[in-house]
Amino acid sequence: MRGRPWVAALTLGLSIIVAAVPLMGADSPGTPDGYALLAEASRLVQEERLAEAVAVLRKIPAPAPGEDAGLFVRSRIDAAKILLGLGDLDGASASCHEVLALLPSNLEAKNLLNEIRDARTPRWVKFLRDMKTYLPTLLRATGMTLLLVLATMLISPVAGLAIALGRISRMRVVSGVFWCYIWVFRGTPLLLQLFFIYYGLPSLGVTLEPLTAAILGLGLNYSAYLAEIIRGAIESIDAGQMEAAKALGMTYWQAMRRIIIPQTYRRLVPPVGNEFIALIKDTALVSTIAMVELMRAANQIYSATFNVFILFQAAIVYLVLTSFFTVAFRRLEDALGVYEIR
């Protein structure tokens, strides 16, 4: 009977009724014949002889006017449940209608009819229906994901540059502090950092909105990664450039700002682009700190509908985002390379 919960439920329901028979006494208004049939059906269900069980249940006659309808209703409802499980939707529906003809407001029958109607609807119709219901949620969630991505894309290069410059500082303390920063944020999981910011900081007296916590977490983490990339790019610029700038009389910062850093832009685009593609996917992690972004919304909708397509749909949105940024970074790289021979 494994994998057929309805059979188990049904068996249990029938057994309870059968067990109740002796208590009701021999002179109860139901037909004693009917109880025997119900017991028979219960046995057949247990033996998984379902079609036969339905046949037996159907033998229970409609009650005469004024007679108690309980046994009859039970039998038709049970028959409908078994038929629904067997995929005989017409039979199940007919069985429900027998009940409703007698008791037009019977809830169980109505619910079953709804279930039957649901089973009749093609998958794609259900998908479209779910889509219509959940599209606004999904769009809002996509917007949130995009907001997280863009915010991090704005924050992390600026902060990353500052950290990189601190890291290459000749002042030991400064460079040490930034080394530690990079060490911590690259050496621990982003998920842990998000948890710490959202769940851990409140115990230190700092409570943040989920959105603030998410942007802060992603920003801090990605700044550390970008800092190392930017530092590498700065150090890859020929030392002669700094010499030439100094020979003109430029200060260290003037040389950095005018000569060294601008030359890193082009070299930065491919590795930073890679990081940003990873970022788009990493935003899914903030679903763990009460942020409703794409991943979380897809998860919620899936839980409500058990519709696998919603997951595909989320996948497609992620793919559209990653593809868009891949192309954008490619273009940017070409645009920044005008001064190089290709």
Partner: protein
């Protein structure tokens, strides 16, 4: 104008400059020759503080410049602002050009005045165009360095240094990285500069050029000045100093 006294420069245990004295007079053209590793580049770099000295002093117009002593009596560079002000009076041309690749020719030449001297862009532009014209690259003014030949790059580098209106120009083997057929155009640019009376110190391995340009020739070997004299004395073929003689024979 600029004077070096007893300059010592060490790299760890290696002595790159060993008590060097050099006095550069206004309008003078000094050519430094000597074998590889003798300290010529190091000497030029100490003049504009790209290299810090360990002993000695550097005087600008008779006054010590660029260094002060710390509590232990060691020489330390003055504050960046002071050094930058001194450097901006000295132009330097490198063996490998070191043009700014992300800027066009015009932008390269304008960069010094605009960023360092805060010259208004229009004024800097006019000055830069004038200098680009002088080194014969007007048709390349909007081109990026990657698209220039070596000789053209070096001429841009000269214009870039001149845009700061330096009192002294330092050339470190300006033609060593060039194909032989491109050497001439760079020499022409430097000669034009000499004709205007520019003070300069030139390190070169081109003896013909040294002979033509120099008021004074200095021969360096092993971190020291071995010989100083007029080009006539050095190149007359009657050199008495055996080291210099051997060197000249090897390069000529």
């Amino acid at each position: 104008m600029i004077e070096l006294r007893g300059i010592v420069k060490r790299y760890g245990r290696l002595v790159a400059l060993d008590h060097v004295d050099l006095s550069i007079a206004e309008g003078e053209r000094i050519v430094i020759i000597g074998p590889s590793g003798s300290g010529k580049t190091t000497l030029l770099r100490t003049i504009n503080f790209l290299e810090t000295i360990d002993e000695g002093e550097i005087l600008f117009d008779g006054r010590p410049a660029g260094y002060r002593q710390d509590r232990k009596g060691r020489l330390v560079l003055e504050k960046q602002r002071v050094i930058c002000a001194l450097r901006s009076q000295i132009g330097m041309v490198f063996q490998h050009f070191h043009l700014f690749p992300h800027m066009t020719v015009l932008e390269n030449v304008m960069e010094g005045p605009v960023t360092v001297k805060r010259t208004p862009r229009e004024e800097a532009r006019a000055l830069a165009l004038d200098l680009i014209g002088k080194v014969g690259l007007m048709d390349k003014k909007d081109v990026y360095p990657a698209f220039l030949s070596g000789g053209q790059k070096q001429r841009v580098a000269i214009a870039r240094a001149l845009a700061m209106r330096p009192r002294l120009m330092l050339f470190d083997e300006p033609t060593s990285a060039l194909d032989p057929e491109l050497v001439g155009e760079v020499f022409t640019a430097i000669k034009a500069l000499a004709a205007e009376g520019m003070t300069m110190v030139i390190v070169t391995h081109q003896m013909g050029f040294a002979r033509e340009m120099a008021d004074r020739v200095i021969f360096m070997d092993n971190a020291r000045f071995i010989y100083e004299g007029s080009p006539v004395e050095v190149f007359s073929g009657e050199m008495a100093n055996p080291r210099v003689k051997a060197f000249l024979e090897s390069v000529l």
